[in-house]
């Protein structure tokens, strides 16, 4: 077949309905990173609000560029077992034609997948907020987005060895959820605990930010899961509906556990439950029935809750519990789908309960290997970055707060006592000599 003819046939496969939904879904997923910034900012102390938000913003700036330049190619070019090729470096060959059997332009596919890389990088910041140097985080983010995210995305989505093994991952339980969760654990260990960790109560400074952030994340997740069918077909519809059901069920479990433990239903617990529910259904969304999706929400919340209660009792300052909310929930979802996937719903594979034990083992393989790679690769990567530049702010800077130190701004500046610096005054008036 000539190249020209191939192009004509390929263009004919584009479905405008699919493309329209995928454009919207891509925008929804990008919004999730800002929602995550709000969610994280509410969970830290007031003096670190802006820095925490800015780490998510930096992830957008950095990962969007590394993805276009290199990451997309390594993830989605060719069928190499461990890593993709360099055929799409700098987006070469990425145009209006679909990728493979797809029905949307490869450009849209690239952008959609790029927003996944972005939010995954942003997620890891939750492990190191309130003490990691902003510059060091940006260097780490650039390297991680290529060396860890693109590799895991290739394994799961790009035709790598896990995909070849038959492992199913609907919307990123492997690269996004387990990838961020277990990388976060490694990052927390390498960067170390905040200086006041375990000595003082370090409390969320704005629970409303946390709730609004969680709500916007859930909203965006309809694009994240609902777009992962790469069109507007049955798989996307199923994942979309399951994204409503699983978090709702996870919320009810969380309410019950909160009641049993503390006799009160907590708001920040509820916000956490929403994230956990969305993560649980991420790998399974388009593969399991709505009934099983509800069961996943009810049951899958249990191990995540246990890790969230246990982690603060350790010396590991994995500050915003990325491991529990993403790593453990992603792990649970990947395994659960190996049990209850139904070919009647997904047209692809049955799970263990429906007669295919092999599918469960394919899932277990991913659940064993992904955490190991994410943890080890991130650990080594951060050690290397740490050998070139300090990873941590000084104790003094940590006490003052990251906002003033790295951004020269405060989230809640009152303006009282502020002296306007104009070219004429140069701020000279009213300033006492510290002598």
């Amino acid at each position: 077949m000539s190249g020209a003819l191939h192009t004509v046939l390929a263009v004919a496969q584009i479905d405008t309905g699919d493309t329209a939904w995928m454009l919207a879904a891509t925008a929804l997923v990008l919004m999730m990173t800002f929602a995550l910034g709000l969610f994280y900012a509410g969970l830290v102390r007031a003096k670190n609000t802006l820095n925490t938000f800015m780490m998510c913003l930096a992830a957008i700036a950095i990962a969007a560029v590394t993805w276009a330049l290199l990451g997309y190619s390594l993830a989605f070019d060719g069928e190499g077992a461990l890593i993709g090729g360099l055929g799409h470096v700098g987006l070469s060959g990425v145009g209006f034609e679909p990728r493979g059997e797809g029905t949307i332009p490869q450009l849209v596919f690239m952008a959609f997948q790029g927003t996944f890389c972005i939010i995954t990088v942003a997620l890891i910041s939750g492990a190191v907020v309130e003490r990691m140097r902003f510059g060091a985080f940006m260097v780490f983010a650039a390297l991680w987005s290529v060396l860890v995210y693109a590799v895991l995305a290739h394994w799961a989505f790009g035709g790598g060895w896990l995909a070849a093994e038959g492992t199913l991952d609907f919307a990123g339980g492997i690269p996004v959820e387990m990838g961020s969760g277990f990388s976060a654990l490694a990052a927390a260990l390498v960067v170390g605990a905040r200086k006041d960790y375990g000595r003082q109560a370090l409390l969320p400074h704005n629970a409303v930010y946390v709730l609004v952030g969680a709500g916007l994340l859930w909203f965006g997740w309809f694009g994240f899961n609902g777009g992962s069918g790469l069109g507007a077909g049955n798989a996307s519809v199923l994942a979309f509906v399951n994204t409503l059901l699983t978090p709702a069920c996870a919320l009810l479990t969380w309410f019950a556990l909160d009641l049993i433990r503390g006799r009160r239903v907590t708001a920040i617990g509820a916000a956490t439950a929403i994230i956990v529910g969305c993560v649980l259904i991420t790998p399974a969304g388009g593969f399991i029935s709505p009934g099983w999706a509800m069961a996943l929400g009810f049951l899958g919340a249990l191990p995540c809750y246990a890790v969230i209660v246990w982690r603060p009792r350790t010396r590991v300052d994995e500050t915003l519990d990325v491991l529990a909310a993403h790593g453990v929930a992603g792990f649970t979802g990947i395994l659960f789908l190996g049990l209850v996937a139904q070919i009647g719903w997904n047209g692809v594979a049955d799970g263990l309960f429906y007669g295919d034990a092999g599918q469960f083992w394919s899932q277990a393989l991913a659940a064993a290997v992904t955490p190991a790679y994410a943890f080890v690769a991130t650990f080594v990567l951060l050690k290397l970055v740490g050998a070139v530049m300090p990873l941590r702010a000084s104790e003094h800077d940590e006490a003052v707060g990251m906002d003033i130190v790295y951004h020269g701004e405060e989230a809640y500046a009152s303006g009282e006592g502020a002296i306007l610096v104009t070219p004429e005054s140069d701020g000279e008036l009213l300033v006492a000599d510290p002598g």
Binding site: Q200, A399, A413, G415, A418, I419, L420, G427, L430, D433
Partner: protein, 118 residues
């Protein structure tokens, strides 16, 4: 009877509370204040507007104590709040004319004596 007032860095407030606790000083009020004690101003920029922040956040401790507790309270404040940098704050000790415990109506020394010493 003295009123001991300590104005300290917000990030050292917990250390001061710990030190006061160790000194068995139990009654304490704190408030958030802003002030300027000669430390270098921070420069902040909001879009095109650059400002020098002349006032810094501080935490103000007020502790009413009987005379024998005055010195331990001052020591605890100093020990908890000190970093060695400009801006660590000040401690003021002022005479106290009267103190009344609202719950019992006790006055003077009885009203400020720490519960632990009763």
């Amino acid at each position: 009877m003295k009123l001991v007032i300590g104005i300290v860095r917000p990030e050292k407030a917990n250390d001061v509370l710990e030190a006061l606790y160790r000194a068995e000083v139990r009654g304490v009020s704190i408030s958030r204040v802003e002030g300027h004690g000669g430390e270098l101003e921070r420069v902040e920029t909001y879009r095109g507007t650059t400002v020098k922040m002349g006032l810094s956040d501080k935490v103000r401790f007020e502790v009413a104590v009987s005379d024998e507790f005055t010195q331990p309270t001052v020591e605890a404040l100093r020990e908890g709040a000190r970093t060695g940098e400009v801006g660590d704050g000040k401690i003021f000790v002022v005479p106290l004319e009267q103190a009344v415990r609202i719950r019992t109506g006790e006055s003077a020394e009885a009203a400020v004596t720490p519960m632990a010493k009763k």
